[in-house]
Amino acid sequence: MTQFNLEAQPINLTSLKQPSIHSLTQVQPHGVLLILEEASLTVLQASTNTTTLLQIAPDALVGKSIDEIFDSFQVDRFRAGLAEENLDFINPSRVWIRRNGDDYAVFDAVFHRNADGFLILELEPALTQENIPFLSFYHLAKASINQLEATSNLQDFCQIIVREVRKVTDFDRVMLYKFDNDGHGEVVAEEKVEEMEAYLGLHFPESDIPIPARKMFVSNWIRVIPNASAEPASLYPIHNPITQQPTNLTLSILRSPYVCHTEYLHNMGVSASLTISLMKDDKLWGLIACHHRTPKYVSYELRKACEFLGRVIFAEISTREETADYHYRMHLARVQSALIESMSEAGSFVDGLVQSDLNLLDLTDAKGAAVCFGGRWTTIGQTPSEEELNYLVQWLAKTVDDEVFYTNSLPLIYSDAERFKHVASGLLAIPISKRSYVLWFRPEVIQTVNWGGDPNHAYELRETGDRLCPRKSFELWKETVRLNSLPWKPVEVQATLELRKAIVNIVLRQAEELALLAQDLERSNAELKKFAYVASHDLQEPLNQVANYVQLLEMRYHDQLDQDATEFIDFAVEGVTLMQTLIDDVLIYSKVDLKGIEWQLVDSDTALNHALGSLRGRIAETNAQVTHDPMPHIVADGTQLMQLFQNLIANAIKFRSSEAPRIHVGVERQEEAWLFSVKDNGIGLDPKFSDRIFVIFQRLHTRDEYPGSGMGLAICKKIVECHRGRIWVESELDRGATFYFTIPVGGRDHSHAIGQKKNYLSH
């Protein structure tokens, strides 16, 4: 939509300097414009169309007093009116000029004084004798005000205005256009005939209505172009005979629009237009723009009625806008309290922020949000990748000291953000601690908004003569708002600050609870350990007694026992022996725990060799071949590592196939961890059991086939997990098995692992 682009342009695209409006010297041909010297009311300049409209040649008018043009009755009224401060009292005056005999031409006469003190008289043909304008005015005002009172919503309100304006003016299209903070505009309401293309919801770049045009809208609250294709009339003489300069026609009704403007009206299929400025606090808030497909004349009174609407009704819009702001604030307050409530109810406050019906996005009207807490990311909506987020947070930690940070042009201060400008040209961040943040994102504005005119299918860039074509201005504008998002409203920033307070409180409270819980846990853990030790020790004694005396029976009374008795004694001894093994293994299992780990740099080669040492007997017995990769130094508990190797290799030997066991211990460095593997050529196992075998006391075979407590792999799992690694098996029946486990490089989260107490907030 280019209706507003009034500017003809000297060819200077880089600076985009606009020509001044007052240098324009042409008028629309449907009316007559006379420039007068006020004291004598002598005509200094006249539009060249006087011959047609008044049947007097312009050169015949110049130098004449208006007494010679109008009859004295009319001129007396002018003089009286001009003596008043406010020209509104005589504007408009219905005047007539005798053209020929009884042929009178009837005009609406409107006076104004320009900045240089010249009096300008504009005569518009009065087309109708009916008194419709006044009634229209009345109906417009009455109907509008009644309806406006009934609506509470700004959107509906704007809709009513355009509907009413269209009803009384009968334009093909009426729209209400609102300027945003950054200067671009949006069509917020529209009424039109069906056949015309809809502009509702479209945004237009700032350059579509350049600054001089805006200035004009500020000084001249109503603008009309009855016929965009009419050939303009010039002034005679072209320059003001007193100043030898073009006369300033800024406030003129008839002043001709720029060619570029009319050209675009033409391109849009628009022949007539009417524009009403909407002012708020002396600034241009928006426009009511009317389009008609055929030439259309709007009488002065009706235009005044519309202007009245612009002024009076718009006061109401301001109020509505404030109410809307208030409603938005209330809405944010509701979102805020909903978030705080669900945060305190959720197990983790992060869940509360993203899982409830009203979530983080609602608090700032953002398209994406991310929470970093305890080194973990939780995201909703459209956000940069986790990797990008990590870098962003590092940058924030270095850059931001305040309780809140926000920008609507992140890529301009953090160049990496250019990669994800389409989701995060705007950033609002609240630090919870140095490493914990809540972040909100807004996309680049070009991606956000429906722009009038497809930037990819732009107008052909014509620089015919010295004119800047609007599609080019769109490109230029796109360049200026590149890497920008819509701005964050102060009320949104305030809402996040309050959320921050709530989060900090909740985190502090949870940290306190966690500390207490950790204390309890520590206590009960210590008791459990003591219990496991005492229980296993005290269980062993009576068990030993049973074993001993059964064996004593057998030793001493061997000769007197029959075969059954001997067998029974064997079973008793077997049972007791198994019980003893189980108790020993439970004791070992209970001793493996996080706090027991002595983190140090150990040579895994030594651990492996110790393990092989203790398995020497079984290795020799089964002719097993154990090979291994060069073993690294790693941060771990040496004793536990040895036990791990020992259990896994013992398993590999135990579950051997008919061939001699061949076992290989492999290791490779991954990004964050060492990956160890123990591969054998044994009987393997069905993959469906690959999780079960790590569960305490789970066995896949009877004890007759393979003796053991079923604790070995559970102990392995616990050791690996205490090292914050992972253990798993890959195997198939009869195809051997490979056990894998990882040990994080550098004993990850070392300080945490040895149970140092940390303030939760220091993450």
Binding site: N544, Q545, A547, Y549, Q551
Partner: protein, 140 residues
Amino acid sequence: MRSDKRKTIFLIEDNRGDIRLIQEALKSTAIDCEVVVARDGVEAMNYLQQDQNLRPDLILLDLNLPKKDGREVLAEIKADPRIRHIPVVVLTTSRNEEDITKSYDLHVNCYIAKSRNLPQLFKIIRGIEEFWLETATLPL
């Protein structure tokens, strides 16, 4: 060296089953010795601090005892110049490193963990008897 005097072994052990088992093991050797038993630490110290003529030639000490713990008994024996020369052998189910170190710190003469295997246990007890009553030279 063979003394004519009948040797006395002082067994400090609360478990009746273990007492009997140790007695059975000692009976099965050629050495003729008397076994005196105390069932707790207090009883043990009372016996040891009586008439010098009744002092035993060897003390077998369990660590986990009622009333007075085996470690305390050991400490008291080794602190008393009248009886500290009597060899004390700790015979216990515990294989705990701490117990072992602590016992030697308290000047135990020997620390032996009970075997779970009966023939093995018998062998150990006979070994103790043979070594301390027959092989080793003890003060008069």
